[in-house]
Amino acid sequence: MFDTFNLAQLPAEDEAIRPAIRKLVEDATAATPADIRARSWLGFSREFSLRLGAEGFLGLTLPKRYGGQERGPFARFVVVEELLQFGAPVAGHWIADRQSAPLILHYGTDEQRDFYIPRVCKGEFLFCIGMSEPNAGSDLASVRTRAERTDKGWVVNGQKIWTTISMHADYMIALVRTSGTPDDRHKGLSQLIIPLKAPGVTVKPIIDLTGDAHFAEVFFENVELGADALVGQEGEGWKQVTAELAFERSGPERVYSSVVLLDAWVRHLKAVGRTDSATTALVGQYTARLATLRAMSIACTARLVAGESPVVEASLVKDLGTSFEQDLPIAIGDDLAAHPDEPVDAELYRTLKFVTHIAPSYSLRGGTREILRGIIARGLGLR
């Protein structure tokens, strides 16, 4: 089963870009405390995204004629791994680089490619994903936001919610209904590019339980768009979204969300010199799991390189990866509180609390655990 999902190696030419991205990331994060770096790909800095673009670290999978580096998914893996292990503030360009630009490349018109992709590669155009709605979460086919055809293009009414970085983004690629009713399910859905500065768009940030506002509600009230807002084919939105989600689920970001906490804990253990057998077994367990997930993530990247859309493989890696990311703060919390007389510095304490509180989101964003397991079950031939 899953016969093509096997060990793969990062090619030497892609490994070769590691020192350059590493130097940039080390410089940029040297003064940032661990609890801020633990925001992982929710940390936002437009300046940092622009800098990555200027130095050629965005658009690694995109063609040169659109301003990309034409290096492929393995190169992107190396760059993303360095960004995540240091907890660099990548939220700004994250979605644009990972899925919006590839989506436009694949389904867009020449004009759309020429307009958007070069600016994504420079870190200038930031995108967010317009999928979830108040009544369409895991059941994405029940979206109600509507786009009606007009003489000039489209007029959009409705609402999106839980939209990560929408308060900073320039554009949303929204899944909307262009015909029929929610009862038509997968039929009649389309994807539109909506400029978030357009009249009729209101973005209201939502404060999360850590006190951050990384996501928001987005309201559309008679938002007028040109005919060129449509990406791909009218009515093909469901198929396009499925392909887009494979990009979203297959990267190493589904493995490394809490790695900054892991490193802060190991630093603590070394500082206090704890080497008893319970401690080494716990450190070993998380080291083995991380190493295996890294190998699985590279194996999944190899399927992208082979031109496949590894929907089931990506779901396997993401579900196992988010389990690791979520188990980690629970285990570290237990370990530290099982040694109540050990001094824990304030930065580690804040990092642990932040990751503990935000961790439930890891298995919600990009497809819930239950949805992913359903996809895997289908891959096994069970439904």
Binding site: V283, G284, D319
Partner: protein, 326 residues
């Protein structure tokens, strides 16, 4: 060599000589010679022996799929162990003995329970600073008393027929890599059997595989199977002189997964799965045996964690790249 050119004849041979009925016979003490001779005749025992010493000169990465096949067919003979022992003996310039060779990876020199020793003539034993090949005298292997178990309690006091230098991490690290591949092969077969069963077995008017509760459990089983496969492939890629951290990763993952995989396979099958005549038990008993052989998950996570805390890069991703990845 093309992977399939190697695997196909090997799997075909096992399909003929390691049917569930023949595996049961060997476990009951009959027919081990017939099965063993078929393996000898196939020539594969020298797959890992260098070409200039008369072998195929293959790497552990090449041979990994063969180990998986041995797991898949629940082969009750130390084929992988003998392949590894013959490669180490040949590399050390020692003569290659006839018959199966068991691996004793503890450093005890008194008595030890050695996997599959009851069908072996020799043991390659780790002495802590060297490896020694010793003969098992007739009648010197004592049955463990566990039904169908071919492990035996063996005296390791015998004189050395050959002495070899000890690889990094000792014999236990390379044996752990073999176990991880065996677990991976058996686990994949269990996943297939369990999915097929779930699609065929009807309760409440539909196949039980249509129940979301079962689907979720089988999805987790598939995750364990793939994690075991890929970590084992990673360890095989590191070669016979396996890095300890890589072997530790593979065996820690495989051993922890083995118990969960066996549990889910049995839970889905229900009572039929624990009956002797149904083939599931041939595989689930092996998973438990291999999980404990040559260090469980608790042993290897301890080794890996101690190494992680001892030295190397500060960041875990860097550490893993340097110590676990080849």
């Amino acid at each position: 060599m093309e992977q399939n050119e190697l695997l196909e004849p090997f799997a075909r041979m096992l399909e003929a000589v390691a049917t569930p009925a023949l595996v049961r016979k060997v476990e009951e003490g009959e027919g081990a010679d017939v099965m063993w001779n078929a393996v000898v005749e196939s020539g594969f025992l020298d797959a890992l022996v260098a070409e200039d010493a008369g072998g195929f000169g293959l790497s552990l990465a090449d041979v990994g799929p063969l180990f998986q096949a041995l797991g898949r067919f629940a082969v009750p003979l130390p084929v992988g162990e003998t392949m590894i022992a013959r490669a180490l003996l040949a590399a050390g310039g020692a003569a290659l003995p006839e018959g199966a060779i068991a691996l004793s990876t503890g450093v005890a020199d008194g008595e030890a329970i050695v996997p599959l020793a009851s069908v072996c003539r020799h043991v390659l034993a780790d002495r802590g600073d060297r490896l020694e090949l010793i003969a098992i005298a007739a009648g010197a292997a004592t049955d463990t008393g566990v039904r169908g178990d071919l492990s035996a309690r063996v005296s390791l006091a015998g004189p050395a027929i050959a002495t070899l230098s000890r690889p990094e991490g000792g014999l236990r690290a390379v044996a752990a890599v073999l176990r991880s591949a065996l677990i991976s092969g058996a686990a994949e077969r269990l996943l297939e059997m369990t999915t097929d069963f779930a699609n065929e077995r009807v309760q409440f008017g539909k196949p039980i595989g249509r129940q979301q509760a079962l689907q979720q459990n089988l999805a987790v089983m598939a995750e364990d199977v793939i994690a075991t496969r890929i970590s084992s492939q990673l360890a095989c890629a590191a070669g016979l002189g396996s890095k300890v951290a890589t072997a530790a990763t593979a065996k820690a993952i495989a051993s922890a997964a083995a118990a969960r995989i066996a549990n889910t396979a049995h839970a889905v099958h229900g009572a039929i799965g624990i009956s002797e005549e149904y083939d599931l038990q041939l595989l689930t008993r092996r998973l438990h045996e291999w999980r404990l052989s040559d260090g469980s998950e608790g042993y290897w996570t301890g080794i890996l964690g101690a190494a992680r805390l001892a030295d190397g890069p500060a960041l875990t991703v860097d550490w893993v790249r340097e110590h676990v990845f080849a």
